[in-house]
Structure formats: structure tokens, C-alpha cells
């Protein structure tokens, strides 16, 4: 992260800047809630978007703030989904307890594997994250007396959320439940990344050696954020299991890990909003594309990835806000010094 070249800020104000949600964001949350009344027929889709947004947010925590490229983030999603699904299947159908269980199980897997993942280079990380995900996929496939194998986990029965709201057929409770979870976890994530801990992560991402010289122990910070990110992904998986009341093997599929990477890149990594925006765009696009070409929509997703990289995703996600900022500056008649404009 490059610091702005403007006047130096005190540590406290630098931390608190961005830690408070801006007005526009409250409007966006309000709009998301209003969707219940405006689009009552699309709630199942909206529910999926909210879950995908949470999943992308979890990836953003490690990719955007710690610089870990993961090809197997779906592993934690899957662990969370199976944890919540199995719990509900065996009679503990309380959704919130299920989410805690999903987060705990995924965090445990994340904590254990983090020691493997954080060794070695980028390549090793890619490989190990992919390997762990593949291994879990294989495990879920083999342990069919627990997970149902390729047939999926049937018989997930949920109790009402907080004992008050029952899951309905139209996804109204499901959507609000997922949105609420997303909201709470998003606010928590914002607190975390704007805390001294979050700043130290960015220091590690920028230059681990220098961060170490400042007294930050990079290894431990990375283990902590990796575990947290795994827990977030686990909650996303748990939400999927609870709201669809079914868990199939493809929660652990490779394409899920690749998709969430794409979601985050569409929206832009490293600013928390990226996952939310990206999830909306991605899911709508997917629905639209699979409506046109049911079998081959992956082709267009692939093409999009290629184009994004060739154009430069930084230019795509930062270009618009920068244009807006430049326009604002011009309006105020306060042109920046020519040296500070970056290409």
C-alpha cells in the first residue's frame, strides 16, 4: 500500500480514517434490505449473492491485506458447509450455533494448514492451498457414510433463526439471515483491518523483512489472519448449507476457489468492498450468461478473466474512483502538483 503523499497524519487519525462507515455505505445496506420488498421473487439469488460476498470478503482478508494468493480457499467454505450441515442433520438445528460450529471447524483447519501454507514461496503457497483443497474434496468423497459422498448430504433440517423466524420457501428469512451475518462480519472485518494489527499485516505484505525489523513477527500475524479468513469462509459455507438445507460435493470443487478469486478481482482486492461489489456483478453475469448458453458459460467467465488481466485489474477498479476524485479536485480548483499524478 502506498501512503498518500499529503500531510503526515498522526497514527490514531490514520487508523480511524476509514474505520467508520461512510454515508454512502449505509445507503447501500439500506438498499440491500429494501430488496426484500422490491424484489421478493429474486430473494434466493440475492441470498446467494450475500453468501458469495461473504466468501469473497474472507479471501480479501488474506489476498488483499496479507498478499497470500490461494487457489484452495474453497476448502474452508466446504468444511464450514459440512460442519453446519452435519450438525443440523444430527438434531442440532439451531442456525446461529451452526454458524459458530462452521466457523470453528474451518478456523481449526485453517490454523493447522496455515503452517504448511505459509512456508516457502508463492508457488509453494499456490500448490499447498490447492493440494489441501483437493485432499479435502477427496476426503469428503471417500467418507460417504458421513458426508453422503457424491449424493450430497441429505436431511438437513433447520430450526427457526434465533427461535423466531422460520426458513420459508421464498428465501426471505434466508436472505435476511445471510445479509445480517454478512453485515456483522463486514463491520468486524473493518475494525480488524483498520486496527494496528491490520496495519502490521500491510507492512508484512509490503516487505516482510522490514516489518520484522520494526518488531512485527510476520509468521504469527499471517497465521492469525489466515485462521480468521478460514473462519469467515467457513461461515459462508455454513450459510449455504443452512439456507439451501443441502450440502453437495461441489462446495469443495476447484471451480469454487477459482470463482471467488474472480469475484474479488472484479471488485478489487484490498478494500473490503471489492468482494461485495464483485459478488453482485459476478452472480448476475453468471445468471445472465448461463441463461444464454447453459453449458458453456465458463468460456465467457474465462474470457472475462483474461481481459481483466490484459487491461489491468488495478486500472479497472481504481480507475473509476480516481476519475471521480480528479473531477472533484478540478471542480474545487485545487489541481494537484504534477509530480503526484501516477500513471
Amino acid at each position: 500500500m502506498t501512503a498518500p503523499a499529503s500531510a503526515p497524519l498522526s497514527a490514531r487519525s490514520a487508523l480511524s480514517r476509514g474505520a467508520v462507515p461512510p454515508l454512502l455505505e449505509w445507503a447501500a445496506w439500506a438498499a440491500a434490505v429494501a430488496c426484500v420488498f422490491v424484489l421478493p421473487s429474486k430473494l434466493l439469488l440475492l441470498n446467494e449473492i450475500a453468501i458469495l460476498a461473504l466468501f469473497a470478503l474472507s479471501l480479501d482478508l488474506i489476498l488483499g491485506y496479507a498478499g497470500i494468493v490461494s487457489l484452495g480457499h474453497g476448502a474452508f467454505f466446504g468444511v464450514g458447509a459440512y460442519a453446519a450441515g452435519l450438525l443440523a442433520k444430527h438434531g442440532f438445528g439451531d442456525p446461529v450455533t451452526g454458524l459458530f460450529a462452521a466457523a470453528g471447524a474451518a478456523a481449526l483447519v485453517g490454523f493447522v494448514t496455515s503452517f504448511l501454507v505459509l512456508r516457502g514461496s508463492d508457488l509453494t503457497k499456490l500448490m499447498v492451498t490447492l493440494g489441501v483443497a483437493m485432499m479435502l474434496f477427496e476426503a469428503a468423497n471417500r467418507l460417504d457414510w458421513i458426508t453422503g459422498g457424491a449424493d450430497g448430504l441429505q436431511g438437513v433440517v433447520m430450526k427457526p433463526v434465533l427461535g423466531l423466524w422460520d426458513f420459508d420457501l421464498f428465501g426471505r428469512t434466508a436472505y435476511l439471515y445471510s445479509l445480517g451475518t454478512l453485515f456483522i462480519l463486514f463491520m468486524l472485518a473493518r475494525r480488524i483491518v483498520h486496527s494496528p494489527f491490520g496495519l502490521s499485516l500491510r507492512a508484512v505484505k509490503g516487505n516482510a523483512l522490514r516489518a520484522g525489523a520494526l518488531g512485527i513477527v510476520p509468521g504469527r500475524r499471517l497465521v492469525a489472519i489466515y485462521t480468521l479468513s478460514a473462519a469467515y469462509a467457513g461461515v459462508a459455507g455454513g450459510l449455504t448449507a443452512q439456507t439451501t438445507q443441502f450440502v453437495s460435493l461441489d462446495v469443495l470443487d476447484f471451480t469454487r476457489s477459482a470463482d471467488v478469486l474472480l469475484v474479488l478481482v472484479i471488485g478489487g482486492a484490498g478494500n473490503l468492498y471489492g468482494g461485495l461489489v464483485g459478488a453482485g456483478i459476478f452472480r448476475l453475469m453468471q445468471t445472465w450468461l448461463s441463461g444464454i448458453t447453459p453449458q458453456y458459460w465458463q468460456f465467457w467467465i474465462g474470457l472475462l478473466l483474461v481481459v481483466i488481466v490484459l487491461v489491468g485489474h488495478e486500472r479497472l477498479t481504481r480507475g473509476l474512483p480516481r476519475l471521480a476524485a480528479a473531477a472533484l479536485r478540478r471542480l474545487r480548483g485545487k489541481a494537484d502538483a504534477p509530480g503526484s499524478t501516477r500513471p
Partner: protein, 284 residues
């Protein structure tokens, strides 16, 4: 016992031919190419298409698969991959995943989702008895061919002027340019040969590994393990890693079928715990 060992060796050799191109581009040039399996896909499909539609002999299909994949590799390197040599790893990952998705969908659209069948010529069928084990003739053929390829590659890399140019270009592209080495051409040729070998591996392996549109994703993790476990010294490490992986995988699936697929991951994890940079890390 001999049979399993030999099958493992044949499987490992096949993996080596499939992945050695990647061990150069990823291991040496440090370009994360997850789309390497696509070249194997090209080779496998070209071979099966030539055989089944045009009745070309299997022995001619192999060089055809090599040439086709090499041509695709050369063109895509020139047009696409070269732009990304200097990009971040994340960009490379995204880009090559995009290529994988596109090619899977394209192959499925053109050729259909079913497995491709390659009918082996009669002289490669059957089994022979060696050292008390029965060994498929085709496995023997694979081992012989891949062995020759491995030796040739090792010679190319160590013994020829091109090899020393490549090693120089990989070590420090700028200095190599300064010495008058055409780094771009060297990389392009390397990429094309690596892709061609993957194509050859795809054609050879269609019978053993199966060839369908999802091949690049199914074997992606194997390729990465070969490169990661082999380390970044060159193809010798990849060769040892492929053999290790092949034997471990076959032996695991035979002796303990319940945990079969875990064996390779266990091997990978064990190696990476002991040696995070791979078996043969380059001294830095």
C-alpha cells in the same frame, strides 16, 4: 511387485513428459502457468482426432501431437503469455485460469464432453514377462520413449549452446541481453518445446490417464506437485519428483485403495515440511 513398480515408473515418466515444460517455465522462468495442461489437451485431442477420423497410425500421431501443441504454444506465447512474464503472480494465476476455463468450454463445444478413445496398435498391446512380473508392452514403450526424451532434454539443457543461453537468460535476463543473447527467442523456443512435450504426453497418456475436456484441471495439481517437489534447479529435480510421485501414487492405489488418492498429497506435504523449496533447491 515388479509390475507395480514398473507401472509406477511408467506413470511417473509420463508425468515427467507432461510437466517438464512447466518445470522450465514455472520453475526456472518463474511464470505461474496453470494452463499448461491445455497443451496436453491439444496433443491428446489432435492424436485421437487424427486416429479416429483419418486413420493415421499411432506412431505418426505422436509427432503430430507434439507439433500441434508446440505450434499452439508458440503462437500463444507470442500473443498472450509473453505479456505476462513480468506481471505479478496473481495476474498470472488469473490469466491462466481464464485460459483453462475457455479451453475446457471450447473443447467441450467442439468435440463433446465424452472421453477420447485411443486404440493402441496391436504391436503395443499385450504383456511380457520380465523378472517375474508381467508388464504391459505399452508401458514399456512409454518408459523407453520418455527416457529418451528425458536424456535428450538433459543434453539440450546442459550440453548445448542453446541450453547455456537458456540458463543464462533465466538467471539474469538483462545481463543475458547485454551479452547479445536473444532472450525473447530463447524463451519462445523453450515455451514451444515445453508445450509440445506436454502435447506428446497428452497423446501418450490418453490411454493411461484418460483424456476428456477437464484434463487440465484434473492433472493441474500433479503438475504443480512435480514442479514444487522437484524444486527449481531444472529438469533433473522434476524427473526424480515425477518418478517418486508416479510410484507413490500407483503403489498407494494398489496396496491401500481406501486412502489411495491421499498418498501423493502426503508425499507432497512431507517433502515440503522437510524441504520447503523442493527436493533440489537452487543454492542462493
Amino acid at each position: 511387485m515388479v509390475t507395480i513398480l514398473f507401472d509406477g515408473i511408467a506413470y511417473g515418466m509420463l508425468l515427467f513428459v507432461l510437466a517438464c515444460g512447466l518445470s522450465v517455465t514455472l520453475g526456472l522462468m518463474n511464470f505461474v502457468n496453470l494452463a499448461h495442461g491445455v497443451f496436453a489437451l491439444v496433443g491428446g485431442y489432435v492424436a485421437s482426432w487424427l486416429m479416429n477420423r483419418h486413420g493415421v497410425s499411432f506412431f505418426l500421431c505422436l509427432p503430430a501431437a507434439f507439433l500441434a501443441a508446440a505450434a499452439v504454444g508458440a503462437v500463444s506465447e507470442r500473443l498472450l503469455f509473453r505479456r505476462l512474464y513480468a506481471s505479478s503472480h496473481l495476474d498470472q494465476v488469473l490469466f491462466t485460469i481464464g485460459i483453462v476455463f475457455m479451453s475446457i468450454a471450447a473443447v467441450e463445444y467442439v468435440m463433446g464432453p465424452q472421453q477420447q478413445r485411443i486404440v493402441l496398435p496391436p504391436e503395443l498391446r499385450g504383456r511380457v514377462e520380465i523378472l517375474g512380473g508381467s508388464i504391459g508392452v505399452y508401458r514399456l514403450f512409454i518408459v523407453a520413449l520418455c527416457g529418451v526424451v528425458a536424456l535428450a532434454l538433459q543434453y539440450l539443457l546442459i550440453g548445448t549452446r542453446f541450453g547455456s543461453r537458456l540458463r543464462a537468460a533465466v538467471d539474469d535476463a538483462r545481463t543475458a541481453r547485454g551479452l547479445g543473447i536473444e532472450v525473447n527467442t530463447v524463451f519462445a523456443i523453450t515455451f514451444a518445446v515445453g508445450s509440445g512435450l506436454a502435447g506428446l504426453g497428452g497423446a501418450l497418456g490418453a490411454d493411461v490417464l484418460g483424456m476428456d475436456p477437464h484434463f487440465p484441471i484434473k492433472f493441474l495439481v500433479y503438475f504443480l506437485i512435480v514442479v514444487g517437489v522437484g524444486g527449481t534447479t531444472g529438469i533433473a529435480g522434476a524427473f526424480v519428483a515425477s518418478l517418486l510421485l508416479g510410484i507413490a501414487d500407483i503403489a498407494g492405489k494398489y496396496y491401500v485403495p481406501e486412502v489411495g488418492a491421499f498418498i501423493i498429497y502426503a508425499v507432497m506435504v512431507a517433502v515440503l515440511i522437510v524441504r520447503p523449496q523442493g527436493l533440489f533447491a537452487r543454492a542462493r
